[in-house]
Amino acid sequence: MDLNAPHTMGTTIIGVTYNGGVVLGADSRTSTGMYVANRASDKITQLTDNVYICRSGSAADSQIVSDYVRYFLHQHTIQLGQPATVKVAANLVRLVSYNNKNMLETGLIVGGWDKYEGGKIYAIPLGGTIIEQPFCYWSLITSPFITGSGSTYLYGFFDQAWKEGMTKDEAEQLVVKAVSLAIARDGASGGVIRTVIINSEGVTRNFYPGDSLPLWHEELPPQNSLLELLHSSSPEPMNV
């Protein structure tokens, strides 16, 4: 076991816009090689009151990028005299990612709400491209030269399940379902699902523990012990 392997967040991160804001979601697994270094990490980090960032890839790289951008945005907000826009935040992230592309290995999703454009999501993959989309997701951030890496089926899921103009609850349910599916199949994702909902009213954080998630193919309901299973199949009739 390589304990000196860099901490990466193999990760599933998702950002989805809905009618009135955005929903960001992420799993909580941080791995060091094959070992799970942190099973309850928080990959959704605050940049400003109204803009959050989902981090994936190298834990160190994504944290330092967020820290720099938070620092720049803080100064920008003071100079501007009002909350920064999501577009500005995303472009700052892009600048750091692009200008240090040789050294960084992190894929990021910036999401938030501002009074000019409402809810917006920006994807900033490896290399520092910036792409504005109604929804983005990242699963298994590894070298792009591995074909069909874990996220292929998430593409299929979103192609089928995404709709325009969802409500806040529909969007959150979609995010939770998608992260849950990814956790089921991606060894680099796991733990709990965290969501952050950002709209004109503010920010709401939600927490879905691993045992509250729906079960997928070949998964079984969790038990306390085999002993309970054995007792529940006893031949004594149950009393009404």
């Binding site: 200008n99 490896l126 290399g127 792409i131 989309q133 070298s143 792009p144 069909g148």
Partner: protein
């Protein structure tokens, strides 16, 4: 006198630029761009795909953009580098406008600027990983040129990047002629784009066609091409040779 050392030249770079930046590899890439001269100006076509290795990751990437009043730029290769080139050109056009002298940079000048940028980056072993198509019209003169990531540049009546070089240019050599009408030009480009769709793995069936004339730039809405699969030979291709393909 230059008072700034290399560590200050880019505040967004987290280390001093003395750390050598070497040749990179592309991450999110666009595939072919095709350009042809026609009667009123230039027609250019590109699909809207942004591939991430072999995955067709992004399907709404605009790879053609207007530059100033007289030019249109299409790019294949790394999208982040294309976005950076657009920033450079923004600044170039801004400074040109600030002269406020009634003159404006034409396609030939923009092409020359891009060539210098690409070649100089190549000399520093830090290329912008793009192949560019630059077309435009100024004072009735049509111009169509291309620049590669190593600075190879030339102008022609029809150009293409990437797979387009191999699949589209033979078609264009055969069927292009002087003074194509708009309709014929579009049909010719669509013919090339369809072949690319059949034969280029990184092609995506969502494209735009852009036109630049003396009047200005128009970039079409995204649309998809119909494909033909009705050859009888496609029905049972391995009859008589089971196991073959």
């Amino acid at each position: 006198m230059n008072l700034m050392d290399s560590s200050h030249s880019n505040p967004m770079s987290l280390c001093s630029q003395a750390d050598s930046q070497r040749t990179l590899y592309p991450y999110v890439t666009g595939t072919s761009v095709i350009g042809v001269k026609y009667k009123d100006g230039i027609l250019m076509a590109a699909d809207m795909g942004g591939s991430y290795g072999s995955t067709l990751r992004y399907k709404s990437v605009e790879r053609m953009k207007p530059i100033g009043k007289h030019s249109l730029l299409g790019a294949s290769g790394e999208i982040s580098d294309f976005q950076e080139i657009l920033h450079y050109l923004d600044e170039l056009i801004l400074y040109d406008n600030m002269w406020d002298d009634g003159n404006s940079l034409g396609p030939k000048e923009v092409h020359s600027y891009l060539t210098r940028v690409m070649y100089n980056r190549r000399n520093k072993f830090n290329p912008l990983w793009n192949s560019l198509v630059l077309g435009g019209v100024k004072n009735g003169q049509k111009y169509l040129g291309t620049v590669s990531m190593i600075g190879v540049h030339f102008e022609d009546n029809h150009v293409a990047t990437g797979f387009g070089n191999h699949l589209a240019r033979p078609i264009l050599r055969d069927e292009w002629h002087e003074d194509l009408s708009f309709e014929d030009g579009v049909k010719l480009l669509e013919k090339c784009m369809r072949v690319l769709l059949y034969r280029d793995r990184s092609a995506v069936n969502k494209l735009q066609i852009a036109k630049i004339t003396e009047e200005g730039v128009t970039i079409s809405q995204p649309y998809s091409l119909k494909t033909f699969w009705g050859f009888s030979a496609f029905q049972n291709p391995t009859v008589g040779a089971e196991g073959s393909w």
